[in-house]
């Protein structure tokens, strides 16, 4: 299918998110869209899929102009989409999610669950995905959820498949699988629009690359371009992809975790007898596939999840039984993994969110009244310092793009003196320019003598930041390894292999991205 977007424009209020965008997708090509956070990539794709209506411009399919006013129009035209944010119903089973909208039924509209299960099994077999059709989506790890999303898109036999940041939550091995699937589809003539912030992936798979900046197409690039060149095109300036980092100068242990065990809501052991230590002036990265207990570990450190056994000490003082507020006051900074859910209050202004855990104390509050002048002053300073792209400090945070929302959270947490910074996925979904900046800030925090604990599923990030790496699998720490451990080896440990096992296997079976 030949797809042509011409002059597509979309504004939100006074913000022009897409400004006369032209784009051509040839049949059977993998077309990568690159751009900073908030550049307008998702907006463009949402218009193509009928979720947003363009203010002007047209969509032409195989020479015919079409109007797409709803996703069902898009589906009719052979367009499929995997959305940046999961479009899965958490309380439904995998099969229910996949059949939704195109249900096979017995007479009388009664669902044919057998057929749906069979379809899921068949697809997972065809593409080598492993999913249990009867599992509830909310119970499966995000990586598997992402597969469900992909299967959902594939069942439609789309001729154009849009993948909006599908790899953000996948392990290297899973990304490999996805890349294989994309190649397979391409061979069958499906065109793919692929959005990602990971330049390695772009280089590995793209046939064509289009770069968008601030709502406009700023250029095309060849897959042979270097990461630096791509980054520069995206951000509009030279980007340092490697964080400048002196070797760590670890001092006294700040965080000491012993025998920590957390049981989750469903009664499963999420964190299993974990011992960890983070020293002042070092960055310990916790690596692992999502869903292996890292989330619960971080939440336990902050007192958000009660612990079943073990002890957590901050500079020698026991934290168990203390409230979250106490821990924050004691000098822990926290960047939660799911920012939209836990990191900020969407309907609050940027200024308010920048003091979400600071508002009680001077200078922002005196225990009773808020000092709004100080709050605003603080907001201006942080917006400046962290280059938060907003039209004003009085705007709600929900109107910012994802990357900028993340900056708000980091700006807040880094704006007070810390002993320990716990940051989960600090740059998930963030563009390379922002990553450069955020990583720099985290390293600076380390150099000031803060103990830093990073939880990340992103091997790039781990490589860039970590002084030491602890790999978690099924709630246990399977090993603590030096930062320069090869990524394939880390990947294997994340899949449960021990340190030595991983070393041997990795040499025999290199992955695509591991070798780029």
């Amino acid at each position: 299918m030949h797809l042509e977007l011409s002059g597509l424009t979309k504004s939100f209020g006074s913000l022009v998110a897409n400004d006369h965008i032209d784009l051509v997708i040839e049949p059977g090509e993998i077309h990568c869209l690159l751009g900073e956070n908030g550049a307008g990539k998702s907006t463009l794709m949402n218009m193509l899929y009928g979720l947003l209506q363009p203010d002007s411009g047209e969509i032409v399919i195989d020479g015919r102009k079409v109007t797409i006013t709803s996703p069902s129009d898009a589906i009719k035209h052979g367009i499929g989409m995997v959305h940046q944010h999961f479009m899965l119903v958490p309380v439904f089973t995998v099969a229910e999610n996949i059949m939704l909208g195109r249900e096979n039924t017995h007479p009388g509209g009664v669902l044919d669950r057998k057929k749906a299960n069979a379809l899921v099994s068949e697809l997972s077999e065809r593409y080598g995905f492993e999913v249990d059709p009867e599992a509830l989506v909310e119970d499966i790890p995000v990586g598997v959820q992402q597969r469900v999303e992909i299967i959902k898109a594939l069942t439609n036999d789309a001729s154009v498949l849009i993948l909006d940041e599908p790899t953000a939550v996948l392990t290297p091995a899973e990304i490999d699988e996805l890349i294989a699937v994309m190649r397979q589809l391409k061979e069958n003539g499906t065109s793919i629009v692929f959005i990602t912030h990971k330049l390695k992936e772009v280089k590995a798979i793209a046939d064509k690359i289009t770069v968008i900046r601030r709502g406009k197409v700023v250029g095309q690039a060849e897959p042979s371009a270097t990461e630096e060149q791509l980054a520069e095109l995206m951000v509009g300036r030279a980007v340092d992809l490697v964080v400048d980092k002196e070797p760590a100068q670890p001092q006294d242990a700040v965080l000491q975790v012993t025998g920590l065990t957390v049981i989750d809501e469903r009664g499963f052991t999420a964190v299993d007898n974990v011992d960890l230590e983070v020293r002042a002036g070092e960055i310990l990265a916790v690596a692992g596939v999502q869903g292996n207990g890292q989330t619960e570990l971080a939440e336990a450190l902050l007192g958000l999840t009660p612990i079943a056994a073990g002890s957590i000490k901050l500079s020698g003082a026991e934290l168990t039984g203390k409230s979250t507020r106490h821990r924050l006051d004691a000098g822990i900074g926290y960047v939660p993994e799911d920012r939209g859910h836990d990191g900020f209050v969407g309907s609050f202004t940027v200024a308010e969110n920048l003091v979400l855990d600071l508002f009680r104390k001077a200078p922002f509050g005196n225990g009773l009244a808020l000092n709004t002048d100080e709050i605003d002053k603080n907001a201006h300073a942080r917006v400046e310092e962290f280059d938060i792209r907003t039209q004003g400090i009085d705007l709600t945070v929900s109107s910012l793009s994802g990357g900028n929302q993340q900056k708000v959270v980091l700006a807040r947490e880094l704006s007070r003196p810390l002993k320990l910074l716990v940051a989960s996925q600090p740059t998930r979904g963030v563009d390379v320019g922002s990553i450069e900046f955020l990583h720099g800030r985290i390293v600076r925090e380390r150099d000031q003598g803060t103990a830093v604990l990073i939880v990340s599923t992103e091997l790039d990030e781990i490589a860039a930041l970590a002084d030491r790496v602890a790999v978690m699998y099924r709630g246990k720490v399977v090993g603590v390894v030096p930062a320069d451990t090869p990524r394939d080896e880390l990947g294997l440990m994340m899949a449960g292999a021990s340190k030595t096992e991983a070393h041997d296997v990795a040499i025999e079976n290199p992955t695509t991205l591991g070798t780029i």
């Binding site: 060149q229 979250t324 900020f344 509050g365």
Partner: protein
């Protein structure tokens, strides 16, 4: 590889026209007009003379029409006169508005914390019970007596509201269920108390308490029924405004109301916020209770709450959960109540019509898009719309 210069996002020109508050005002006025039209239809349908004239509509159609016009005209004239036609009507409207404002604030404040307080009725009753009891059973010096009685009322409401918050915080019990149930418990409690000699008027077996001491009554303005409680209602509105927008506690309440998870992550206690919000909300409803028993009713009866606790929900929602809005909505409802009494007196229009009018007004005010699709000249307001549009999950 081609390059292009980065351009900043283009700002689209703002839609010129009226400020947001003016547009909202216009929409509200239009909504009231629409509601009055609906009411007019009901008046016509129910009017005996119109019905008599309709029977010979073919013979003398003008009779029907003029009867209809005069029926509607007389009714609404009476409504207007009863609401704002002079000092006494205005004082009556303000008197009626007083408990509605406080009750409305009780609902608003909880709303902003993500709680649906359907229990203002019960909280008001508990406030009235305690305030009334202190008012007629204790005998204290002037001023002090009133203050003590008011405080008792606040405590009564606060306990009843606080229980809801506490149960929600400790056990997760849904506040909608608990408040509905506590409303019943409160009214049965009041009915029972009024059969005891402690609460009954000496020498009487009727369920009516003695009149509260003069010292414990809200002083009245001149010889109107308007009393100092009205000023307290305004003070309460200012207090709630300050609490929500200018205080650290309010910051916490709003944060919990908007996103409980993020608030928890930022070190706030969701449970504490629920308790605080419901205690304050209960106290506000309790204040409404004191206004009933120490301001207008004077003896305590089982009708002390009337339907104030439920009307308060509508008032709060009409006021979009903001203190100023709640005050305005309370004044409107108070005026309609006062005018409605006058309307039934003069044109014998049933009070149920006032109820219909109030419901229709809120319906139209809450749906600006509908009003706009009828009155097409109204400008669009970007800011308006889904305020308080939240589900059960907070």
């Amino acid at each position: 590889m081609s390059t292009a210069t980065a351009t900043p996002p283009v700002a689209k020109p703002e839609r010129s026209g009226l400020p947001s508050w003016a547009i909202q005002g216009l929409v509200s006025v239009s909504a009231i007009v629409l509601a009055l039209l609906v009411g007019a239809i009901l008046i016509i349908v129910g009017d005996d003379e119109v019905n008599a004239a309709v029977k010979y509509f073919g013979a003398a159609p003008m009779d029907t029409i003029s009867a209809a016009f005069s029926a509607v005209g007389e009714a609404y004239q009476a409504l207007a006169v009863g609401a704002i036609g002079g000092i006494t009507p205005i004082s009556e409207s303000l008197t009626q508005a007083t408990p509605l404002i406080c009750g409305g604030l009780a609902v608003s404040l909880a709303f902003r914390t993500g709680l649906f307080n359907i229990g203002a009725q019960g909280q008001l009753i508990m406030g009235a019970i305690l305030a009334g009891y202190v008012g007629f059973a204790w005998h204290l010096p002037p001023v002090l007596h009133l203050i003590v009685a008011i405080v008792a009322g606040l405590i009564g409401g606060a306990i009843w509201g606080g229980m809801v918050g506490l149960l929600k915080a400790r056990t997760g019990a849904h506040e909608v269920i608990v408040t509905i149930m506590l409303n019943y418990v409160a009214i049965y409690l009041l009915q029972w108390l009024l059969t005891t000699s402690t609460f009954q008027r000496p020498g009487r077996a009727d369920p009516i308490s003695p009149i509260v001491d003069a010292n414990a009554q809200y002083p009245q303005f001149g010889d109107t029924r308007l009393h100092v409680g009205f000023l307290l209602a305004l003070v309460a509105a200012v207090f709630v405004w300050w609490l929500l927008n200018k205080s650290t506690i309010g910051f916490e309440l709003r944060a919990v109301g908007a996103n409980a998870d993020a608030s928890k992550t930022a070190g706030m206690s969701v449970g504490r916020a629920y308790v605080v919000a419901m205690v304050v909300a209960g106290a506000l409803a309790g204040l409404a209770g004191t206004q009933q028993v120490l301001g207008t009713d004077l003896p305590l009866t089982d009708g002390v709450a009337a339907s104030v606790g439920f009307d308060a929900i509508t008032v709060a929602l009409l006021g979009r959960g903001t203190p100023l809005g709640t005050v305005l909505a309370g004044l409107l409802f108070g005026a309609l109540n006062a005018g409605g009494l006058q309307m039934q007196l003069i044109t014998q229009t049933p009070l149920t019509l006032t109820t219909v009018l109030q419901a229709t007004i809120v319906l139209f005010v809450a749906a600006p898009a509908l009003v706009r699709s009828i009155f097409r000249f109204l400008p669009k307001d970007r800011g308006a719309g889904a305020i308080l549009a939240k589900g059960w999950n907070g």
